[in-house]
């Protein structure tokens, strides 16, 4: 469904993606992890051409996303993207956030778009917030609306760029719950996240990136229990170690 072929990206002289070569099959839930600055967010943003690449190819459903005859708007309509900072349209109500794309891009009627918005909001547990403005919602609620907004385009592939990193801790689970439900329905997903518990439980495969390289590509059990690469081992030690610092501070 999605294939990276020897993808290279530079910011000036800085080589941020180094020959990424990997593949995601239909129905997979792929988690990309790695230390900050490893290039994982950049990688996911190259899929819908939010970032340009300088070398290699990215194929979505067998077609080069940057091909001359590829329409970037049509591509993006087929790939859901969930941002770290939600990015709900601040001038529109929740209902309008969910209806804008289906009406303007897919050509749905208002009634059909509204019916779909109601169904999707119920699915993410926010049916009662349909008339709310984004600014009046909590972070977790905004992110669930953002997921519903992406789903409203009926995309065969969903991308999540650190969807819980901007949330207060108590709101992380409500968002992960929605994502878990999506995975259970068989949605193909590529998720950049630091939620290792979620990755172990939901992912069908884990990619580990560091310094722009894809170092590991393994099922979660193997990745978490026997990481092959030294840098993956160190990363896992760092993120999975119970925080000793909090205890020290109270002493």
């Amino acid at each position: 469904m999605l294939q990276f072929e020897n993808v290279d990206k530079y910011y000036g002289a800085h080589h941020v993606l180094k020959g990424i070569d990997a593949k995601i099959e239909r129905g997979e839930v792929l988690v990309v992890c790695g230390p900050s600055g490893s290039g994982k967010s950049t990688l996911i943003r190259t899929v819908t051409r939010l970032e340009a690449i300088q070398g290699g190819r990215i194929l979505f459903e067998g077609r080069d996303v940057a091909a001359a005859d590829s329409n970037v708007n049509r591509l993006r309509a087929r790939i859901g993207f969930v941002f770290q900072s939600f990015n709900l349209f601040q001038n529109l109500s929740v209902r309008q956030n969910l209806m804008l794309g289906p009406i303007k891009v897919l050509g749905l009627s208002r009634d059909a778009a509204l019916a779909q918005a109601e169904t999707l909001l119920a699915k993410v547990g926010l049916a009662n917030k349909i008339d709310a403005m984004p600014a009046n919602l909590s972070g977790g609620q905004q992110q669930r609306v953002a997921i519903a907004r992406a789903l409203a385009m009926k995309p065969p592939l969903m991308l999540f760029d650190e969807p819980t990193s901007a949330l207060d801790p108590e709101m992380v689970q409500e968002v992960l719950q929605v994502m878990r439900a999506l995975a259970d329905e068989g949605m193909t997903m590529m998720i950049v996240t630091h939620e290792m518990g979620f990755a172990r439980e939901v992912a069908s495969r884990v990619w580990f990136m560091d310094h722009g390289q894809l170092l590991e590509d393994a099922p979660p059990a193997r990745f978490f229990d026997h990481p092959a690469h030294a840098r993956a081992q160190r990363f896992l030690q760092d993120v999975l170690r119970p925080a000793p610092r909090a205890a020290m501070l109270t002493d």
Binding site: L50, N73, R74, R76, S85, F86, F89, N91, L92, L100
Partner: protein, 230 residues
């Protein structure tokens, strides 16, 4: 001074109207309103072009605003006075000429406001709009512009203060507006130019001060809405 005001109030407020063309404060306001309303769509187009992803459009829009901002309004009025009749091949009234010149001049300044308003929005708004497949123009129309315009309102009202003052230059091509009225009053009273033109200044000041107070009130209201309710 008050006797001048008393004797010539109608001339100051509406000019020769209803026996002649509308003038005075009324016509100044009409000029300014027409200038603002007509230059606004142009300013939106130019401001959008300045933040657009197409280089030639950005370059063109930048060149336009730089050019217009670098020329005194008086010269634009003169230029329009001589050029517009040539271009349209017919007689053009002084009023129309003045409105055209003000539109050209103000569109460049308003475009700066539009551009600033668009640039001040979080980047994620455009990214997420594009990410559901909306084109750049659709994203602008449904997501960026409505937000930018709401934030821009105080600056636009402030700009209308400058438009009101700019209309005084229409006097030089004989448009009967506030300054023109004052000049007429000055001719009638003959010996009181200081008082007459002080009165003129007072008229402009009242108009402009009221507008800037209104802009300030709007600014506070928007700030409050952003902090609390919204």
């Amino acid at each position: 001074m008050f006797d001048i005001l008393h004797d010539h109030l109608a001339l100051f407020l509406v000019g020769a109207w209803p026996h002649g063309p509308l003038g005075g404060v009324a016509n100044t306001l009409v000029l300014a309103a027409l200038g603002l309303v007509a230059s606004f769509p142009l300013a939106i187009a130019v401001g959008m072009a300045q933040v657009s992803p197409w280089r030639w459009l950005r370059t063109g829009a930048d060149a336009w605003t730089r050019l217009v901002r670098g020329i005194p309004l008086l010269l634009i009025i003169f230029w329009a006075y001589f050029a517009v009749p040539l271009l349209v091949g017919a007689e053009v009234s002084a009023f129309t000429t003045a409105v055209c010149a003000i539109i050209v001049y103000e569109s460049a300044f308003l475009a700066q406001i539009v551009r600033a308003g668009l640039e001040s929005l979080p980047r994620g708004q455009m990214e997420s709009a594009r990410s559901i497949g909306l084109s750049w123009l659709q994203s602008m129309r449904h997501v960026q512009l409505p937000q930018a315009l709401a934030n821009m309102l105080p600056s636009i009202v402030n700009q209308s203060v400058s438009i009101i003052k700019a209309t005084s230059l229409a006097y030089v091509i004989g448009v009967p507006e506030l300054t023109y009225s004052a000049a007429q009053v000055n001719t009638i009273t003959l010996t009181k130019p200081l008082q007459t033109f002080l009165l003129l200044a007072a008229f402009y000041f009242v108009l402009c001060f009221t507008l800037s107070r209104f802009a300030g009130w709007m600014e506070r209201r928007i700030a409050r809405r952003r902090l609390g309710l919204a």
